[in-house]
Symmetry: C2
Subunit: 328 residues, 2 copies
């Protein structure tokens, strides 16, 4: 029997989850839940239906895991604890600072109702966190580095688009190759924000807008750009559509450390991702953790979990025996 999945929220992430379910034959999409009028939402999966979010509770016996695809700012803090009452849930909550609070809220709802809720799933937080954690546990005497990119930052692209005279724009975060090399060499460099990443912006200006002012506003914007070396390119709307419509991302987690009685030996652990589609990759991680949530709950576990709490084997459709035979 398949594991029955619901998707709540049908944006980039929700569509990514739908595609990921297609790649996992032991999972079945039952329904997509939306705040919009269900009649107006077209999904790709012929065997699934679109429901109003208001009907979710009624479906609690028809869905094993509800995947929450809302945003971290306002949706998930409310939705994840709420739906953990009725379902096992997985979310991709990524406001690092508020994770302890979110964990506590989800833990309460999930524990009281006998469900498993896995939060902050994706690649950062998610696979990057896992790799930081494994590398820290192995090389206790070392230093961590995380680089992001090359990829599109939604937050920075939004910030550009809020500037007066900007019609549209896209921002790429780019790791500085020489900084990566310095880290890999085991030199343990102390790197400033400016030394680690550069920012490249592609901007479509409104007709007659003052380009010099826009460029200056971008480059001096506090928190977003002022601490970085930023390049601004003004391009046409057609060029933006043609060359910058993808949502690529990726990055590097590197830990260097020493071993030996007198710390005489150096080691480098590096994990990297190069992703054509940030939401589709994130979704693929989420779907594997949905399988885990279901299985852990079947074994009687409950409460809030993160990627740190989930034994890897739960993620795979293969049995322990198959995993040991083929992947160990």
């Amino acid at each position: 029997m398949s594991i029955r999945i619901g998707i709540l929220g049908y944006g980039n992430l929700g569509r990514g989850v739908e595609c990921a379910i297609k790649h996992n034959p032991d999972l079945e999409l039952v329904g997509v839940f939306t705040r919009r009028d269900p009649e107006t939402v077209q999904i790709l999966t012929k065997t699934a239906k679109v429901y109003s979010v208001d009907d979710a509770e009624k479906m609690k016996d028809q869905i094993d895991v509800m995947i929450l695809c809302g945003g971290s700012a306002t949706d998930l803090p409310e939705q994840t604890p709420k739906y953990a009452q009725w379902f096992n849930v997985v979310d991709s909550f990524d406001t690092h600072k508020k994770i302890p609070e979110h964990f506590a809220n989800v833990d309460k709802a999930a524990s009281e109702n006998g469900h498993v809720g896995i939060i902050s799933v994706g690649w950062d937080p998610g696979m990057f966190s896992l790799n930081r954690m494994y590398a820290n546990a192995i090389l206790t005497n070392g230093k961590d580095y995380t680089f992001w990119g090359k990829g599109v930052s939604q937050g920075h692209s939004d910030a550009i688009r809020r500037i007066k005279g900007v019609k549209d724009g896209k921002q790429y975060t780019i790791p500085v190759e020489s900084a990566l090399e310095a880290v890999r060499s085991g030199k343990n460099p102390e790197l400033t924000t400016r030394e680690k990443h550069t920012r490249e912006c592609f901007v479509v200006a409104e007709e007659g807008a003052d380009l010099a002012r826009i460029e200056n506003e971008i480059k001096t914007m506090p928190n977003y750009f002022d601490e970085y070396d930023t390049t601004v390119h003004f391009i046409s709307e057609e060029e933006l559509k043609r060359d910058h419509s993808g949502i690529p991302h990726g990055g590097f987690v590197i830990r260097t450390g020493k071993t030996g009685w007198n710390d005489e030996n150096s080691h480098v652990i590096e994990y990297s991702l190069k992703l054509d589609s940030n939401p589709e990759f994130t979704s693929s991680v989420i779907v594997a953790y949905a399988r885990a949530a279901y299985r852990m709950n079947q074994e009687g576990q409950k409460g809030c979990k993160t990627v740190f709490d989930v034994a890897p084997a739960y993620l795979s459709a293969q049995s322990g025996e198959e995993l040991r035979k083929h992947l160990l």
Copy 2:
């Protein structure tokens, strides 16, 4: 209270474990158990003692986890099940083909006696296996590649040393850079053995030996060298000692795969290690899993486990709360 560790076998790996324990303040080395005369074995840890292996059983209440540092060919198949009777155990069993059999034997002994035994811990099997598994669970539609090196292969070095006229020798396995690049590009290349790795040998010949014959015997040796492009350098004993006394290793685990409704997006997940000391890094992984074995057993778990069965948080000295706050 510290987790009390025993080391059984004091070669490169045993010494590596001793050094790794020094880097983990919550672990304490109680004793090293040896088949040699304990009087002849000098260890580095002043607070620990050297015992005969025959005294291990008597120490079963003084040691929480026994780390087995013998070889996979003959030692571990016998030792791991044997010591799992009396202790939680961790080993680095690396004969891939015999893992299912070894798992069954350790599982029986550990289960019957209420202990946890974690087998095949290190980097391959170990961290490489974990990364293969995570990447497979995420990108279900993809292809795996593992490259080893640059590093010293003990097995190939031994094979060289068995050739008549060879006094000493060291063999490096080297991944082919162009093959790595082809894999990273997402082209899904089919690579032959020869295309993936080259082998480089540094050989000290006995005086008057026939160098051409030795070189030919190496290059044509079945299983070890005949399927590779191999380079042989004859050097002096002094050069070998000066330039090739380390035990570096490392490698790359790469999975490329597709997502999207029509498989339109490509992704690359890459994990790599660059290690100055193969046994010290392996030991550092083992020691983290010793912590996990103890904790899992404290929670009432028993039987044989692999890295697939151990939730990551068990490896870290930090609490769940600290991990969520600092590493998620």
